[in-house]
Amino acid sequence: MKNKEIKRWLNSAAQKSAPDVLGSVLSACEQQKGRNFVMTNAATSESPRKRAGIRGLAIGLAALCLLLVGGIGGFLGYQNVYAVDSIVAFDVNPSIRLEVSRQEKVLSAEPLNADASKILFDMDLTGTDLNVATNAIIGSMLRNGYLSDIANSILITVENGDEAKAAALQQQLVDEIDQILGSNNIEGSILSQTLSVSDELRSKAEACGISTGKASLIEGILAENTQYTFEELAVLSIRELNILANAGEITTVASSGSVSTQGYISETEARDTALADAGLSASAVTVQKLSLDWEDGRVVYDVEFYDQKTTYEYEIDATSGEIVKRETEVSPLASGDVIGLEAAKEAAVKDAGVSSPTFTKAALDRDDGRSLYEIEFVSGGTKYEYDIDALDGSVLSKKTRAVSSSSSGSGTDGLIGEEAARQAALTDAGLSASDVTFGKVELDRDDGRWEYEIEFYTAAGKYEYDIDAATGAILKRESETAQTGAKPSGSTSSAPVSSGTTSSGTASSGTTSSAPASSGTTSSVSVSESRAKELALQDAGVDASAATFTQLELERDDGRWEYEIDFYAGGTEYEYTIDAQSGAILKRESDYDPSDAPSTAGVTVSMDEAKALAQAKAPNATLIEISFDHDDGIPIYEGELREGKTEYEFEIDARNGSFLKWETDYD
């Protein structure tokens, strides 16, 4: 078992075995609150708990005052200024509903789903001009990655009794958002519509936890295309709906710009490629999954569909359209009559005891020879994940977790800004904005400082950066690329994207994973350890004399031999994974913290010298691992050599080269 798997199992064990003590905690807190209050009134002791009670009361009073002021003001002004004139809804995946007065002031801003709560987290838009609110909302969606080069679709819906006025407002908003997106170098795909909502549509929308605008768009798609149901489409994002809307000819929705494909083939093309390969037509199957993913060093579409007998899973290279993986298994429909998606959703929601959930996933799947529905939904800030038996509707497993929300807020003055952070990352990677697709740009607080967390993709790989938001310094860089050689270059076209992965079931030439999967020998290691070190140092731009190696390990992962090389230099911790056959850098990570440097006081033996000492004791063995450590304050090298079934473990005093341990073990 590999480190990665151990961590994964530990995490899932924690998730599963953690007991639910929330109920008892909350009821104990309620009792605590009561006690605090009594103690405050008694006002006898000076305990900290008492002070907390007084503070709580003060806050309560302040809140009450605010409420009164707001209430009175609101009531007096209601007749003229505070009458709702229009309703404006923004749907991306976050869905936000604004009530707007005749003077185009925002009267209320309501998040309609969990993503929207994230967007509105610390914004108070009440009383602001509509254009200011629009700017703030779109800005937050950009910051939180809901709108980006790829995710460029937004639906604007205006409801107003006066049709002409609604149309004017619609156009105004489209222009405004187009401009905001344009200034962020994003070519927006803006869908817009005016609406007079029927009660029926409203209740349908409410039942699925979506905005009436999104509901109306779905109705429009359904009018053209009968293969879907309303509920199926309700869980799709606006981008996905946009693609469906583009496929048909929806007349009720105005559309500007086009859905971003950013050099990728479209979802429809990916689906059709897979269907053609399976020799099936779209009408014969249920499409379960159709989404972009990052797999084995390239951007792919995951396409999954099933008919009565078989489930097909494809990965389609999003750049070339080539099929990189195909897998079939028994269809979830094969084991008998299934209860249907709606019944499964109902069973899950009933078990959770919640009302009006927002479904985020509803899919039929097969697991351990059993057909089940995977149902996921969000309600009241909690995300529920259910597996429902597809034959009898029983709950097979369930899991809940809070929906995390993050946002940038106060205290962010004097930061370099998102654009500068992006640029810093790009410059470091030797890429330009046109080479990459941004996956995430987020401002976060870590270790008491603001950092931009930036992710982007090229055809050759994935990059992650943490940029100090005040200084622009690079705090962390990490990349996984399919490329061989040193640092990724700016050109994405020259990268050997098709190497290193299986291709259409036939062995493709130039694969990097040709090591026999079952063998435990190191015969497929053609890059020497010193060469691997060289490659890592060269890539990091660190001189060998400045580096302190802390870990050097030859490990087998995903069917290939890799060197794990860790070292420190100039206050930065570097972690590299290098393909032991091709020398390709599979992973690089660096983390800057001057306090991290390990103490090398008293060390006179270098890692290479320690290796030579160990090697001399077992000349025919292969060095598997060596690391620099401190044991009870003594600097040591410890490591492992292997020769056939024999394993040697050693510890060498780094001050004088003496052996502290030499152990021979037979597997």
Binding site: A13, D446, H630
Partner: protein, 193 residues
């Protein structure tokens, strides 16, 4: 709308910690907001439980300590100073709770093993989860268990583990690597069986 599954880094080092959000929650909790406490609970409960288990090695004790931890969070939130160390604050409360359990057991002479089935006997766990949990709890020292859990499950960076446990970073790194190696070896033996 997020398209890319954020695979390895997140999965490998536990969930991301959102300092800003957490501090805001603590401020709300200080004002008596139980909904904020609920959110904090959902965000932190699983890794926090894992940490308590690493200290107590006993499900029932860890459960009690988990409950006490959140109750303490509720009463102590007003004294939290928002200086960007909310995770260490939360875990320090948990550690105190675990230490109190140890002390209580010592005074009363209780034997924790009497309290029920072993943590890895939880029927909801799959085979691999049982193997890994039992190996981690049985073959690692308490210090190693803490280091592994804090880093691999709770998502502490090594230097955060070091400062939380008041150990030199080198020690944390070497103990972590050694502990993982031991786990790897033991698990590959058991997998072979």
């Amino acid at each position: 709308m997020i398209f890319f599954t954020l695979s390895e880094p997140a999965a490998q080092r536990g969930p991301a910690w959102n300092e800003q959000q957490t501090e805001r929650l603590i401020v709300s909790i200080a004002g008596g907001d139980t909904a904020a406490l609920e959110t904090l609970y959902h965000l932190t409960q699983a890794p926090l439980y894992a940490y308590l288990l690493s200290l107590l090695k006993n499900s029932a004790d860890a459960r009690d300590a988990l409950q006490d931890t959140y109750l303490d969070v509720f009463t102590a939130a007003g004294r939290y100073r928002p200086e960007g160390h909310s995770r260490a604050w939360l875990y320090a409360i948990a550690r105190n709770k675990a230490m109190m359990t140890h002390r209580r057991r010592k005074i009363r002479g209780e034997v924790p093993e009497e309290a029920g089935p072993e943590p890895w006997e939880d029927p909801s766990l799959c085979r691999e989860e049982r193997l890994v949990l039992s190996a981690a709890l049985q073959s690692l020292s308490e210090e190693e268990r803490q280091i592994v859990t804090l880093h691999a499950v709770s998502g502490f960076r090594f230097r955060e583990v070091a400062s939380f446990l008041e150990l030199p970073l080198n020690t944390v790194l070497s103990k972590y690597h050694r502990a993982m190696k031991r786990l790897r070896r033991q698990l590959s033996e058991e997998e072979g069986v």
